[in-house]
């Protein structure tokens, strides 16, 4: 690793600085080892690092067609995910970038094939495109009739709005085989659906990929062949710029997400309420600080011993503890402690949760990752808090950026749980005990969706049961298993 300064533990800030100068491959290797050594950890730093790295990948990679770029990013993404599979945001960011590239490519193609119907707009991204994108535009392209394209597009769009209740994507009437595609997101997840294959192939200009029953592999290939060379020259540059600006948008989103979430705070926190929070989280802290601008309330902080207690203590006292905040220093401005904002802060141990719950009005949890079923991965102890809240009929609110929302849906939730250093519980000084005692130190808890009442993301407040829909809006089905080639066709 050439760029590491001596005397500093490498962290996010140093990594970002090194990105600009270091060669790409060494940057990738650098991030992989940083992830493996947990020198970049927690959702936000991982997300930021991934996004910046992918930006470099796109900027430095010489590509001739979009398929190459997608493969390249998939390959880099796969390595990053393998480096630290439990930092699920890494995969999320890669998926978002992949989806964004696909969208840009699609748009590009649409513009080419039927420039009259360009409905593209950079400003309002994904949602609309994912609805009206994919195969339908391709249908327009192959038939090369703008008129027909317009009509199908319109019809599917209207269908989409009708279908929304079921959470399904609109199904194109013009293409019977695609009807096997999903109506629910969960189906999609385990089994990559046919549609995903069409999309995947449609993105690369290989003629053989066209579904058999459509008008013409030949028709398409002739179109591609005739225009391909020319298009590459004209569009690659534009496309690259658009992809880069798309990634920058994602980076911007990562920067702003907490403030966006905080904007909903005053809706949910009222005067003289008692709020229970767990461990330290920037999102939650900003959320409460925002609410504190208008209201006075009490916050009880459960310290999340033994893994996050130092960060929690630092957060309530406003001190920066060197090893924990190190990652955040470069990207986060120093945040004042809640008590400085006029909120009464009560620090308690995790064991007191049940005792205090009868006086708590709301529980606000931070997350490590959110899964599509509405469950979440959070600091260990969150599950008993949520359960104690349920027993006391106290509402549980989860505050999380959309970037933490992962399309992964494991059947075995234990696979998402990471176990930490048992030395945090029984120090290695206590030799006799260490030798004979089995010590268990989970870092994360899985909180099932039925223990959560409300999610507040940067898009607003949602019921846990609605989250899969947001997942579907943000990730393309064909990208969901990008890191597991064996699950793809």
């Amino acid at each position: 690793m050439p760029s590491l300064q001596a005397g500093y533990a490498p962290n996010l800030g140093i990594f970002l600085k090194s990105l600009k100068t270091a060669p790409l491959e060494s940057s990738i290797e650098n991030l992989i080892s940083l992830l493996k050594r947990r020198q970049i950890r927690n959702s936000r730093p991982c997300a930021i690092a991934t996004a910046h790295l992918l930006l470099q990948v796109v900027a430095k990679f010489r590509w001739t067609d979009i398929g190459n770029l997608l493969e390249r990013i998939q390959e880099v993404g796969q390595r990053l995910v393998e480096a630290q599979p439990r930092e699920m945001v890494v995969g999320n960011i890669v998926r978002r970038v992949l989806g964004m590239i696909r969208d840009e490519a699609k748009e590009d193609r649409t513009e080419d094939a039927s420039d009259s119907t360009s409905t593209s707009q950079l400003g309002s991204p994904r949602r609309e495109r994912s609805e009206s994108g994919s195969f339908r535009t391709e249908g327009g392209a192959t038939s090369s009739s703008p008129l027909r394209f317009v009509s199908t597009d319109a019809s599917t769009l209207s269908e989409a709005s009708g279908d929304d209740v079921f959470g399904g994507r609109s199904q194109p009437t013009s293409r019977p085989p695609l009807l096997t595609s999903h109506t629910s997101y969960a189906v999609l997840n385990g089994v990559p659906v046919q549609q995903s294959m069409f999309n995947l192939l449609s993105a690369t200009p290989t003629p053989s990929s066209t579904p058999p029953h459509t008008s013409s592999p030949h028709g398409k290939s002739t179109i591609s062949a005739s225009s391909l060379a020319q298009r590459i020259v004209i569009t690659t540059r534009d496309l690259k710029a658009e992809v880069i600006s798309g990634i920058e948008e994602i980076i911007d989103e990562l920067d702003q997400v907490d403030d966006q979430i905080a904007a909903y705070a005053q809706e949910h926190i009222h005067s003289n309420e008692v709020i229970l929070i767990h461990s330290s989280s920037l999102s939650v802290q900003k959320f409460l600080l925002k609410a504190a601008e208008k209201r006075r309330f009490t916050v009880i902080v459960a310290e999340s011993y033994p893994n996050d207690h130092e960060a929690t203590h630092a957060a309530v006292t406003g001190k920066v503890s060197p090893d924990v905040e190190g990652d955040e220093m470069s990207t986060e401005t120093f945040l004042k402690p809640l008590s400085a904002a006029g909120i009464t802060v009560i620090l308690m141990t995790d064991a007191t949760i049940f005792a205090i719950m009868s006086r708590v009005n709301k529980v606000i949890l931070a997350t490590h990752a959110v899964i599509a079923n509405g469950g979440l991965i959070a600091a260990a102890g969150a599950r008993i808090i949520a359960k104690a809240a349920k027993v006391h009929r106290t509402p549980v609110i989860v505050v999380s950026g959309v970037y933490k929302l992962s399309p992964e849906y494991p059947f075995e939730f234990e696979s998402l749980i990471e176990y930490g250093d048992p030395g945090n519980i029984i120090g290695y000084g206590e030799g006799a005990l260490v030798d004979h005692l089995e010590v268990d130190n989970p870092v994360y808890d899985y909180v099932p969706p039925d223990l959560v009442d409300l999610y507040i993301t940067n898009l607003g407040a949602h019921a846990p049961s609605y989250l899969y829909r947001i997942v579907a809006d943000h990730y393309k089905p064909e990208d969901i298993n990008f890191h597991k080639p064996e699950l793809q066709f």
Partner: protein, 361 residues
Amino acid sequence: GAQKVVPGPIATEPKKEDKTVEFFRHLYKTRTTSIAGASKDVHPAVLALGLQMSNYTICGSCARLVATLQAFKRVIESYTTPPQNSLSRHLTSHVLSPQIEYLSSCRPLSISMGNAIRWLKLEVSKVDVSVPDAEAKKGLCDAIDVFIRERVTFADQVIARSAADKIKNGDVIMTYAKSSIVQRALVTAHEEGKKFRVIIVDSRPLHEGKHLAAALVKIGMDVKYCLINGLSHNIQDVTKVLLGAHAMMSNGRLFSRIGTALVAMEANEADKPVIVLCETIKFTERVALDSIVHNEIAPSDELVIPGGPLENWGDIKKLQLCNPMYDVTPADYIQMIVTESGNVPPTSVPVLHRLGNESQG
């Protein structure tokens, strides 16, 4: 054990901020942590005991009860009735009361201690005026010995025996923090050759479970140790949950070390039987609906990790630390209470409490 309540940085602030937590404000008591300022009437044995209790050297409801009665035996032994006074009238009000007051200033009395002291006062009041001093004192000391033997020693044997019978080969027993009676039951079962595992859940700041783990590991038991954050990861493996008690409330609720309610709640959600091991001396006619009405607040400074960011927390305005000692477990989480008078459901607590008192009376 670093409880510097009075001379901390809070006290030196010009305008002292109230660092007590509103919900618990009725429960705050400053603790005596040194013998300075103790009344001259306090017996040396009691002075020592008070300090041992305040720094948790002697900890646990039963241990404190026994230690208190032993100390009171010393007090009674060294007592002589002043002229123109009778033992039954003088001893309680003039000698025992200052001792009790001092002890409760070191750490609030446990419910079992309250029960025992009430019994002792009754015994003292029953001493006949005509009985000579020496004989009366001997009578009282013997009565204390009998009381300890019956209500604690034998009771513990019976409970440990009965609880050990409930442990079968292949069981996975979860327990929380440290209870001497649970430890005894586990050791008894282990000595009988039963093969079972123990999962000990523990929490800050006392880490009592660590002592239990050390004791069990020493005799070669298969022990797993986790803090309360690992509770929900381990509950599925468990077959039975054994809990100790600080007290059993008359409405069937369990009053025990803070965190016990979480363990019972998780066990209940996972359909694991929760068995409470409790001597009837810990039963009380008091009731509790939540953990806030009646509790003990330990000094907040016990939560401070030396060298951590919490040092000097007192300087930060509006920041409070709260360190309650007990919580109340709802009766529905408890399947069985093992006592020396039999195994009962939580609803039978008031009945047993009455029976216990009547047999004494």
